[in-house]
Amino acid sequence: MNTNSITHLNTSDMHSTTMRSAGQLIKRSLINTRRLPSAFLPTLAMPIFNMVSFSGTFFALTKLPGFPTDRSVNWFMPLGLAMGSAFSGVGLGFSLIRDLENGFYDRMRMAPTSRISLIVGPVLATWIRVTLVTLIVFGAGTLLGARPTAGVLSYLCSWIAALGISTIGAGWGLGLAYRFQDMRGAAIMQLSIFLTMFLSTAQVPLNVMTGWLHTVARINPITNIFRLSRSGWVNASDPGHMSWSNAYGGLIAIAVLSVLSLIFALRSLQKIDK
């Protein structure tokens, strides 16, 4: 070590800004994605695998009376996107657990930056990853025969739904990671995401469901998000086709669940400080 003196900083220079910190945390998250692709690839492979396997296996579903599309890939591509987005979101919880366990997160908690930036930065990085995944899934879906029925709006609605689901998953995953601070949180993250997804219209439309599953799916807000995501991929003659009435429920569900999950994450972070 040499004996260089250090540049003096006035305390007035040290005005931490939330957005600057969030920006740096986005950068860190993307650097880690590039350097550890094995952590990112499952969120890319899963939606493509889901889309390919479900649309092939459950092709016969499209023959059901009242099924909203005659292209199974049109139905299952939004499901693949939703699953990939949800796991991108909760994946943030996994990364956080790693940081908590190796002590790196203590360094961030000791910084005088706003707590919001510690959450917003990684969530925005997830949006970037989800956008990348969405573009690739759209490409793969097109190759498999998916065709939009509402032009650019079809892609836009599915993308918004994907961002929304990733935000909800991220808030939930971060909150659980902060609460448990170890891999116990990971099991709850995965289980809860699977249950919430599959107790909705993830696989089949409401009109072919019966009994308690129909009731649960009808009140599950994720159903509204699927309606938004698929509105540009169902037949133009279907009641679920692109319209404001089919969109607003999903947008409200995204807004409310995102806010709630991010509040859960922030509260959980504040709980660690106590």
Partner: protein, 338 residues
């Protein structure tokens, strides 16, 4: 109110039924290197985590750099640098990237960020490794980077939590030198360590913590003087231990020794050694090994706690690891003293 940079008053931390820190009081004066000495699980790290705003006290108060650690946590964070145990740094990032991240989190303007990072990298000897991923760094390099990260915002108070644990002797000496240099430049340093030599070498004052309580506090020289007499250590056959103890006890108080050795504080000083040997010989005690030690911090520790720090690694303990603090460590030494 005192303007000392670190003041703790009756600081307590419980984890459920576990009482990790049981009401510590300490005051670290400006410009000091303060050593916080204790075995694993004594409560050192828990205390430091409270002082660095990572953990809220169950009760009691603490002020760091003039700010309350609970009510003014952000001001405390702006004023302190912290290098925690195990050099917690993201192995996927490079040294330069981590410094940039740390600088932004502390609100350092972009205009000076690069210059400051370069200065710190040069200072800790990592300029050439700045663009390498941390996963390729040695343990010593990680510690030096950790130190650089903690200095990015020029803190007035620096907390170093066991900064040399696991380092080779050369890396340890390098880090010691840097701590001294920082202190010369005016930084107040609070150093936790389980190494007696480290505390002896670096600290102006030390506090010994055991089972969540401070059991001794003062300047190393004063503490050593308080133990008083030099210690005579002998090793003998196990069947002659009681006879040897009987002889030794006539020269002073018996003290714990390492690996079956017997110790006695020679009240009359080192000049009595020949007399002790003669008495042992007369009693038929065969002396296999004999040494005389001037008082050390190990003696201070042993006198304060009833066991030697060097043998406390495996002792049941409270605090850092969440063990119950009411159980007393074994009163024996696993290794010899330094």
């Amino acid at each position: 109110m005192s303007n000392s940079p670190i003041i703790a008053e009756n600081l307590v931390r419980h984890f459920g039924d576990v009482h990790a820190v049981k009401g510590i009081n300490l005051e670290v004066k400006a410009g000091e290197v303060f050593g916080f000495l204790g075995p694993n699980g004594a409560g050192k790290s828990t205390a430091v985590r409270m002082l660095t705003t990572l953990l809220r006290p169950t009760s009691g108060t603490a002020r760091v750099a003039g700010f309350d650690v609970v009510k003014q946590a952000d001001q405390v964070r702006r004023s302190i640098g912290v290098a925690l145990q195990d050099a917690a740094i993201d192995p996927l990032m490079t040294g330069a990237e981590l410094l940039a991240l740390q600088a932004v989190l502390y609100g350092i303007p972009a205009s000076v960020l690069k210059k400051r990072s370069d200065e710190l990298l040069e200072r800790v000897g990592l300029t050439a490794a700045a663009s390498r991923r941390v996963s390729t760094y040695s343990g010593g390099m990680r510690r030096r980077l950790d130190l650089a990260l903690s200095l990015i915002h020029q803190p007035t108070v620096l907390f170093l939590d066991e900064p040399t644990t696991g380092l080779d002797p050369m890396s340890r000496l390098t880090l010691w030198e840097e701590v001294r240099r920082l202190n010369r430049e005016g930084t107040t340093v609070m150093l936790t360590t389980q190494y007696l030599e480290e505390a002896d070498q670096l600290a102006d004052r030390i506090a010994i913590i055991d089972h969540g309580k401070i059991v001794r506090e003062g300047k190393p020289a004063d503490l050593k003087a308080s133990v008083g007499a030099p210690t005579l250590i002998i090793k003998t056959n196990i069947d002659q231990t009681e006879k040897a103890k009987s002889v030794l006890s006539t020269f002073g108080d018996l003290r714990p020794g390492a690996e079956g050795a017997l110790g006695v504080g020679l009240i009359g000083g080192a000049a009595l050694v020949t007399e002790v040997v003669r008495k042992l010989d007369e009693a038929g005690v065969h002396v296999a090994h004999l040494e005389i030690n001037e008082p050390s911090l190990d003696d201070v520790f042993a006198e304060a706690t009833g066991y030697r720090l060097e043998g406390a690694d495996n002792a049941p303990s409270a605090g850092d690891n969440g063990d119950n603090g009411d159980e007393k460590p074994k009163k024996k030494s696993r290794r010899g003293r330094k």
